[in-house]
Each structure stands twice: as structure tokens, then as C-alpha cells.
Symmetry: D2
Subunit: 382 residues, 4 copies
């Protein structure tokens, strides 16, 4: 198999892709080679393309990078003795369809030993992001015909009844595990997130869309989606939003009034902030009722500062805030099984709106930035 070469869209610096060739590697022991079927374009990918390369409060990226961490593919080769077990204990074989866990944790540091989320790991690395293509075997992202799986990674088998264009949402849907945590953060019956609570989702790009679905699956009542794009708001309705508000055609004061009108004047029980712009944070807090809960999942890259009143936005509201840094490995399997289950209620196959081959990576990323798209993917086999 070794003499072959592999094509990969390679970001040589912010704003510039090159289609490069790499040698097809044999997987070492504890490693796997996965033939890519589909790879999503994530908000972080766009930010990197646009030059926002500061992540996790300071980390800098090393170019060139093969992007792509929302990956579905089939196992092409397994290193060592040819055995490999998926995250949930299922033995994997060549030909099996899998989702690739986006990150690798060391398993040995204080944070790993104490069951912290992966992004707390002192040596965390992640596919399609901070693993540079400079170093062999190079293929550390999904915008490539093959991806090389390093020791310490995790793979999760895709259920047979889950199409790949839904499975490709697994990683981003798994980030909504923040809502599961929110469900447990109550010390009071009155503390949200409760059954039938009114939930606002600020920003229904793909991540907000996943949080919206998850809110419904966990027992939300009235769900209100806010976004700049009618295209996205229309799809939010199909995924279960009861009301939508176009933020391009409303002032902030109007939006606050709409939320109050829909909630007996009290404000939302829960606001999930996925807008990806700092200014959405104070607005989210102002939309909340007293003792409400804000889930912050929108600012994975550093886009600036905002002004807050500790009294008015925090103390006087008795508010709780949960900032979500990412997903958890244990959320992949449940996410896939539940998306498979809810296909019959929600049009999940329409979530991927645009598909491109590797040669069109530039067009693909630009399309993903446009408001008239939901999830844009690359199909590296094209």
C-alpha cells in the first residue's frame, strides 16, 4: 500500500490553501489509517482561515495545517497486531465506518487523571488544528484522502442506520454535552435548566443548531432562535424552534422585549450563546430572568472584549454561567445514536447544505462563512 500518494488541502498560511501530495503511511502500532468520506467545516476552521490563530486563551498554531476535525471515514489499515477497540469497547475492523475523535489527551497529567474535559489536558492536541502537517506522517486533518490516527486517539463506530451526512455532525453535536452538564448544575428546583423551560439560542449556525436540538431532546419548552440569517432561522424552525427573531432587522431593545413578551415578562430561563461575537454575551445575560442560566459556547477564538456590570448582569440577577470549552469523548456515541433516533422527527439530512471536493476548498470555506449555509462539508474522495 506504501507507494501510493495522498492528496490533502493544506493551509499554508491564513487565507491560502494548496493541494499537496503526501506519501501514504503504514500505521505504526496503536495507530490507524482512516480513508476519509466526509469532513465538516467548523467555526474554528473559518477563524483560522481568517487569521484568528489564538486559541485556548493563548495557544498559537503552527503552519502548514491540514484542517478538518469533524471526520467520518472507513478504516483502511490498523497498525500493530491489527486489533483496535472503539471508545465504547467495540472491536473495529478494516472497512468499518467510524467518526474520529477530534482530540488526543495525554491521560497522565493532573487534569486527565482527575477526569477533566480534554481541553484541560496539559498536552492536548487536536486533529485539523494544532497538529502541523510539517511533521511526518503529515496527515493530521480530515481535508485529505486519508487521516492518520495517533496513539491515544479515539474512534467511535457509526451505527448502520446513521447516514454519513448526519454522522459528520457528531463532533459538533457532542459539544452540546454542555447542556447535560447544565441539567446537573441546579442546586434548587427553581434553577434552570428545568423541564419545559423557555430557552433562547443566540446564533443558529451549526453549533447553535445542535444546542437547539439538544435542548428539545432534554425537555425544553418554548425555544426561541435568534440569528442574522432568515435561511438559518427557517431551518431552526424545522429543528424545533417555536419562535425565531431576525437580529438583522431588530434593535437589541426590541429583542429583549420580544423575549419578555414570550415569557410572561420574566425573561428566558436559559440562554445559550453561540453567536460567536463578544457583544452577544451581555445581551444573553439581559435576556435572562432572575436566577436564570447562561451557557456560553460561542467564543472559541479571541474576538475582543465586552463591558459588563457585575451588579446588574450578575449579582442582581442571581445568575449562573456555564462556559463550555468543547465536547467530551463520552458524548460521541450517545450523540450518534440519538441523531439516528430523531431522524424521523427532524430533517437531519438537510443539515449539510453544501458539499465540495478538495480542489474547491477555498470556495467551500467561503460558502461556510455565508449566512445562506448551514453545515458545509468536504468530500475528499471526489
Amino acid at each position: 500500500m506504501s507507494a501510493q500518494s495522498v492528496l490533502a488541502a493544506t493551509l499554508v498560511e491564513p487565507g491560502r490553501y494548496e493541494l499537496r501530495e503526501y506519501p501514504l503511511p503504514d500505521p505504526a502500532p496503536d495507530c490507524v489509517l482512516v480513508k476519509m468520506e466526509m469532513s465538516g467545516i467548523c467555526g474554528t476552521d473559518k477563524h483560522t482561515f481568517q487569521g484568528y490563530t489564538t486559541q485556548y486563551g493563548g495557544r498559537q498554531l503552527e503552519f502548514p495545517i491540514i484542517q478538518g476535525h469533524e471526520n467520518v471515514g472507513t478504516i483502511a489499515a490498523i497498525g500493530g497486531d491489527g486489533t483496535y477497540t472503539d471508545f465504547e469497547g467495540i472491536p473495529l475492523r478494516v472497512g468499518d465506518r467510524v467518526v474520529v475523535g477530534a482530540n488526543i489527551s495525554c491521560g497522565q497529567c493532573y487534569y486527565c487523571r482527575h477526569d477533566f474535559p480534554y481541553y484541560c489536558c496539559e498536552k492536548t492536541t487536536d486533529y485539523g488544528n494544532n497538529l502541523s502537517a510539517k511533521h511526518p506522517p503529515h496527515l493530521f486533518g480530515g481535508w485529505s484522502q486519508y487521516i492518520y490516527i495517533l496513539p491515544g486517539s479515539f474512534l467511535v463506530k457509526v451505527p448502520d442506520d446513521l447516514p454519513s451526512e448526519v454522522a459528520v455532525l457528531t463532533e459538533i453535536f457532542a459539544v452540546s454535552v454542555g447542556l447535560d452538564r447544565a441539567k446537573q448544575m441546579s442546586s434548587f428546583p427553581s434553577e434552570s435548566f428545568r423541564f419545559d423551560d423557555a430557552v433562547v439560542v443566540l446564533g443558529v449556525g451549526p453549533l447553535g443548531m445542535c444546542f437547539l436540538m439538544k435542548a428539545r431532546m432534554l425537555g425544553a419548552g418554548t425555544i426561541i432562535a435568534v440569528d442574522l440569517s432568515d435561511y438559518r432561522l427557517e431551518f431552526a424552525r424545522k429543528l424545533g424552534a417555536d419562535h425565531v427573531v431576525n437580529a438583522a432587522r431588530t434593535a437589541k431593545s426590541e429583542r429583549l422585549q420580544i423575549i419578555r413578551d414570550l415569557t410572561h415578562g420574566r425573561g428566558a430561563d436559559v440562554v445559550i450563546e453561540c453567536a460567536g461575537v463578544p457583544a452577544a454575551v451581555p445581551e444573553a445575560l439581559e435576556m435572562l430572568r432572575l436566577s436564570g442560566l447562561m451557557v456560553e459556547a460561542g467564543n472559541f477564538s479571541d474576538l475582543g472584549e465586552i463591558s459588563l456590570s457585575p451588579h446588574r448582569h450578575l449579582c442582581a440577577k442571581n445568575v449562573r454561567i456555564l462556559a463550555v470549552g468543547g465536547e467530551e469523548p463520552a458524548a460521541y456515541g450517545p450523540s450518534m445514536r440519538q441523531m439516528a433516533r430523531y431522524q424521523k422527527h427532524y430533517p437531519l439530512r438537510e443539515f449539510v447544505t453544501h458539499r465540495y471536493g478538495l480542489r474547491s476548498v477555498d470556495a467551500a470555506v467561503k460558502k461556510s462563512i455565508e449566512p445562506e449555509s448551514i453545515k458545509v462539508v468536504l468530500e475528499p474522495w471526489r
Copy 2:
């Protein structure tokens, strides 16, 4: 009893007290008259005196006001059939020593019916604060020889082994119930507030001092107190602080480094913000380790805004914030019993550092603002 008159320190406008006389009322049914023994001066009292009269995100005070909501006294008369039950179900009699619940909830609004904290009640009123002395029977604060207890209030009997100068701390100690809530806010074993966690208390005025004690009682490990006053820091040590940092003699960057040095470079597991200045909020977040917990209990009055980075301060830290708006009635009894228990370990009788009669109310409030005081009280019987 009715022909008597009652003296009360009355705040006629910000910055100006008058000693006024009021008629001694007979209590109506469901009402009680309490002879005051001791009443604490709270941060809110100082803010009102200084002219910060916006509370709970917008509420305005109506002058004149008899301040004082940290109240210990003895029952002088019970209205109606002469029976009255304390919050925990104990029958009360004339002569019983009680702590007066600081607030009155309506019990009927959405928030009351759904077991929200009292400060969410749509009609919440509170002694010594937003019940104006303009309206009869006038005596709605503790800086008076008698306080008049309205229907819907609650009283809690003081245990015999608890001296009044400790019982007077009950209301403020009860605010630390926020830490009990924090203890339940974990969805992860790794989420604080855990046994042996490193806890920073920013600002050890009386409220911060109570949070510090409570943190120890709930299983904190290393406790670090930060304040501008050596006088307060010395007392914080006596109440269980392992380390103290004088913020008047250190730059913010030095303080952050000290915290990291004491926590294996990771940052504090929990930061409790009681400094009462907005600037302490971003500093508190920066002191936290990844996935840490910030308890915000310092900004009960509106003192301005601060600048935050949603990425750096929130998302990239995977942080949780619990903003605490006040105490809960159910926390009074436990607070008294535990302070009685821990008297043998902590010098709780030294917590009240200065005592004044009603005539010296002006001096008392000024003393309470000085850094060389902990809790300052009025003894209205003097």
C-alpha cells in the same frame, strides 16, 4: 404599653441621620414587636449612606429609612392570639431571643411558588432598606429601640449557647449559603467546589470573612485571603486562612503569580469575590484554574462596569460562575447552630470589633467603612 415612645436613628437622606421619636405600636394579628439588642452595619447600609441607592438592578429607596437588617432582639409582644412559630417550627414567647429575618416574601408570585430565593419575589421587601419609615408603624429597621415585624416575616430563635454578638452575624453568614449551592453545582467530579480545593477569598470584609469560614466548614483545603487591610487579613488568619495577600502592596500580576505558586501553577479551584468593587471580577476569573468556579457575591450595589473577554475569561477557561443575590431563610438556623459549634475553634466573639449607641450612628457607619474594623454594630438600648 402604647403611650411610650421609641427612639430610632433615621436616615433622612444619603449622608444625614436624625434621631427621631416614634410611638410604640401594639402588634396587629400575625405581627410581633421585638426589643432590639444589637444590629449590624452591612455593606448595603454603607452604600445607601454614600448615595448608592440603586439596588436589585433598578429598585430605588424611599426616604426616610430606619436602617438595620442584621437584627438580634427579644420578643416584646405578639399580636393576635399571642402565639407565633419560628421558622423551624418552634413556638415563641415574650422574652425569647430571636434573629429577625431580613426580608418578607409574598409567597404567592411565580417566583415564591416555585421556591426561588426571596430576592426573586416580585414583591420582596426588606427591613432596614426598602420599607420606608414614612409609613406607620414606622419601625421597620433595627437601628431603633424596637422593630415591628410584619405578616409574612420570619423569626428564628437564638440557641442559648450563642452570644448575641455572634448571633448578629447570622444574616450575613447565611449569605454564604451560596457555597452550599456551589457544592451542588458540579456535573463532574473535577468541578469544584471539591473537598480540599484551593479557595481564594477576594475581600475579607464581614461577608468575605463569613464565606471564608463557610469554605472551611464545607471542606476547603488551602484558603487564601486577599484584602487591602492588614487588620482584616490578620483576623482572616484566625478564622482559618492559610495565606494572606495584601492587595495594597501588590500589583495584580504579582497576586496572580502568588496564587499560581500556591496551586502547582494551575490557579485556584474556587474564587469567591466579595471585594465589592467591579475590578475584582476579571481578576477573580484570571486567578481561576481551568474549569474552576467563581462565586460572585460582592456587587450588591451598582458601582460600575468592567471589561471581559468572552473567549479568554469564559470559554477558554471552561469556567462556571454563580452569582449570589443574598441569603435564604432556611440558612438562618443552620448558620446559628454552626457558629455556636465552631466558637471553640474560631474567635467568633472578636468578629464584632466596635459597638455604638444610636446617638453615635454617624460615627458607627464611618467606622464600618474604615479598613480597621470588621463588624460594627449598634446597640439601640444604650
Copy 3:
């Protein structure tokens, strides 16, 4: 209105109903008269009819009793000034359709003051159960043309889009609030009840059926229903069960094997015990995986004892058990709104399978005991 008389099915002793006439009362202040539209027959009603009259671990019933605590009707008259507010703060008027809260709490005892569930109230009373018809105005149950609402009760307005035959399920559906509590009982990510967890419901009478729906609404994965009746199991499938097991045609060992086969050999993550027979308790524990959660909601009347191994059933399994004593007032409104929402997915209008007039109360109760029924109701206006 007062000269009229009211017909009510009256249980004069276990096993014997009489149709009696009572005077139509005028409601006193804080009281309400509700014209009954529909009243469900509950497991407790059957047990009382059969002579199991010991409740809440010792309480004895006083006959005669007008049963019926799952009540929907319209407001016929409001006492006092004619104003009345529903539990969620909505003003009510004559003609409004309401669900009647099944219980009255004193609001003053230790348990009420500390926000315990109503069945902990030291003076709890409940309609259709321990309020005897011996005492005027007699009409304290729903199997009557009118029900008399005492002070301290609560009413909840029925949403316009919720048919009465679904609204009648509100009280029993509200008992599934135990699952909301279970959702918060996790100290570990691994502790159930998690998103996508495998849930077994033992016994799908009306209560088990409600727990089954609620489990799905809160994010359950595979749901397995176990019952003696194919009739009920078939309806369980319509409400979302993925698998059903007929306990009349399987041995216990077979059932345990079926559960293991459906859960990768591990056992169920959650078992909800609603079978109403003591023997189901050890079976429920044996169906659980390690660290699983059992919700016990099936033994509201005393039907005997079972044998357990503290080692094998508890310690060695690291299990958690939540015993649910009943519903909560705050669960009524959310239950109604969510049943209204989910009508489009589930055939909730088929839940009520049989309807009877007051004259057929005996036949109605007997039908409700048969396995070929789900919810049986009385329509007192017939």
C-alpha cells in the same frame, strides 16, 4: 345557586359505593367551586377500594370518601371578592378550565418552610383520599358533579390546545418529576440518568406510561417496557418504547437476560419501578448495571415486604435509589404544556381508554383493575 343538590359517588367502606346527594355549597373566601368534567381512577383509588387503606407509612382513611384526585373541571364560583390566582400567577375567572392540585400543604411546618415535597408536610391532606365526606361541605373528591376547593389548594389553568382527556393525566404525569430529580442526582458524568441511557420501565400502567414518556422527553436512549399485559405493552410502543417484554410469559432469569442482551451485557442504566408489587424491587436492582440508578415509584400502598442482599443488591453494585413519594405543584404547568406539545408525536388522546358516568363507578373501578385498560375516567356530568 344554593338550593341545588349535587350527586357524588361515595365510597362508604372498602368495596362499596353509594350514589349520594349533597347540598351545593357557596364557596367561602379563598375557596372555589369547580364543576367536574373528568376525573381519573388512580392506583391508590383501586387500593382503597380493595381495602389497602394504610398510606404514607401509617395514615388511615376515614370513610365515607368521595374519591378522585385527578381532576379537570371549570370554575363555577369563586368565594370572597371573586378573585383567584392560579399556581403560576394567572388570574382565574368563572368558566375557566382548570386542573385541581391533588393536595393541600400547610405552608407553615418545618417541611413546608424548607421546600420539601408536599407529602412531607406534617398536615398534608389530599382530595379524593383523606378528606372525608363526613364533614361539610363534603365535596372533597372529583367523582362528584362539583368539587369544593379549600384554602391553601392550588389550581392550574389548562392551555387551550390541551383536550380534557389529556389534561386529566396531569397529576399522574407530574409524578414523573422524580425523573427530573434523578437527572440532577449525578455526582459523576457516569452516573445516570444520562443522555441516551438505556431505561427499563417495570410496569406500564398509567404511572409507568407517564414515566416512559417523560424518560423520552428528557433524553433517554433505548427504552424497554415490561408488563403483564400485551394491551398495555402495545400502547407503550406507541408512546416510545423500543422494546417490550411480557412478564407473564417470561421467567425472571429470562427477563434479566433480555435486558443484558439489549445493553452490551452491562444491564440497564436506569430502572423505573412502577409495577406496584414488592417483588419488582429486587428484580429492578438486578436489571441495573454497575453504578446504575433505580427510581422507585410503585409502592404507594403497603403490599408487603421483600428480601434484599445489602451486599449484592446495593454495595457491590454501587447503586443509587431514588424513592418518589408523589408529584409537586410546580410540575403541573410544565406537564400540561409538554403534553400539549407532544400530542403531535404521541397518541395522547388514546391514553384514556374507558369513560363512565357516576352511576357506573363500580364498573369503572373494576375496569381500571383489568389489564385491558390504560386510564379509566369518570365523567360526573353524564
Copy 4:
């Protein structure tokens, strides 16, 4: 170093110890050799000696066994490149004093991957228990001059200010992490374990004694210890019990009355069952108030069944039960640091009441079974 031989007390079958010699091994890569300083005798050790060899709901032990899993010693040699990191990330060196983690988890099974407690691991093994001395290098228990640490184990460095006779309590104290979990199991403010709650500890052998201390450290109010031995009850008082009840001189009905008398007639908020006899389980439930919490940590070996009423003991009490299967690695470090801290308040150095050399192992185990002992240890260097 290899020519040396090592003495170890070896249990060749229930009831019979032999002092055997084994070759001193060189540690393989990822392995460590620890020179034993002190090893505790645990309840499980006694049960194995007495012939109760069924554990974890079915597992059988393979003889001969070198017992001892509560181990303190110093590092004698490190395999491979000589580097080794303790559980909390601290580099270890020859001569460092460490506590040895009692168990080894596979890290790869479903349970390990999903952050379950170690005793859920599908391949869990534990020192001094199910690692037979039949297999080389034999030294898998602490009642030996040296213990051999296998890959996947964990060591925790002992703080300098913690004497070894306190450090030897680490493993058993760590089991009280169940109380930390209990603290998070509340979905209601009314649900225990709350600040100032009344806590009963049934059985104050070493484990119950640790739970008692932990309850105090986490904010318990009144603590009541129940045991058959005055000797133990006296020590329980020194560790913070407010009341003690000798179960040898009281009938069950008297004990229930004593608990009610101490709790305003309501019953205990929390009962921690550490008696190690099945009959204590129903008594524990009967001691609880409504909505109370029972922690079951006493039946690690199978000692028989008990009879329970699902109605009276569970549903009618609205009770919660947390069964604790063991400790967690993450609890070792906090346990050591907090025991070091609380040495000044509690006489922790008196906890170890008897010390024996390896030659007296038989006498040591018999002493540990007697009521006139707390923790009995072996000092293998004698």
C-alpha cells in the same frame, strides 16, 4: 539487589497464615518496588480470613494471598528509565514516602473510558486481595517487607507533615468520598446532605470513624455514633461525635426513639451505614426522616439478606440511597492533606491502636476483630 529474599505473611487458605520467603525482584519498566513501612488491616481482610471470599457480587479469591491494601512505604527502586510520576503529577524518587493505590484499573473498558469508579472496571484487580501470590513476582500485598507495583497502578506522595500512622488511613478515609458524592446528589435544597444536617453513623469501626470525620469536615451538624463497643464510641467522641449510643445495651425501638428525640421528632437527615451487618440496613432506613439520605458502605462482603417494605422503607419515606462500592484514586491526595490539616483538632495519631510484626499476623487479625481496637496495623520491617 536481586539475591536478597523477602518475608511476607501469606494467607494460604482462610484462617491459616504462613510466613513465606520470596525472591526480591527488580522492577520492570513502568513498575516500582516499595519498601513497606506500615499496612492496615481492613474489614475485607478479616472477612477473607473468616472465609467470606465472595466479593463484588460474585468474584472468588485465588489463594495463597499476601493481604494488605492500606499501604505506606518508601520507594526502593523504579523500573525502566527510573522516572515515575505520582497520581497528582509530582515526580517521584527513590526514598520518597508514598501511599500505594489499592487497585489497578484497565483504563480501556467501557467503564474506565466513561469515568466510572475503579470497582466498575471490567478487569479491576486489587493489591492484597485478588492478585494471588501464586504468580511471580508474588509480592502483591502489603503484609510483606516489599510490595511490587504493577503498570497501571498509582502512587501518591505523602506530605511531610503527615505521620505514617495517619497516612496509613488514607485508603479507608478515601472511601468516604461517597459523602462528597452525596453532597452533590441533591435536586432539592431540602435534600440532604445539607449544612448542619443531623448525621447518624451506624458502626464506628475504622471505616465508620472515617465517615464520621468526613461528615464533620463537610459541614454536618449533630453527629450521632452507634456501635456495640464503648471503646470505639469513646474514640468517636474524640473525632467529633456529639452523641453516642451503645447498641449492645439498647433495643432497636429505643435507638429509633433516641434518634427522634435528638432531631425534633423527625429522624436523622442522613444515616451512614458502616456496621457491616445486613440487619443494620432496615434500621438505618427507619432512623431517617422523610426525604432523608442513606449512605450504604457497610456490606463489602456478602453476609446475607434482609427484609424490607418497598412502601414503608422507600416510597412512603421519599428516601434516597447511595451505595458506595469503594474509594477513588482522586480522593487519596485530598484525604492526606486534610488529615494533615485536621491533626490539630482531632487525635488522629491515636487512630492506630495496635501494631504488630509479620510474625504476629494471626494475633493482629484477631485483635482487629475485637471491639477493643480501632485500626490495627502490621509493620513489616520489624
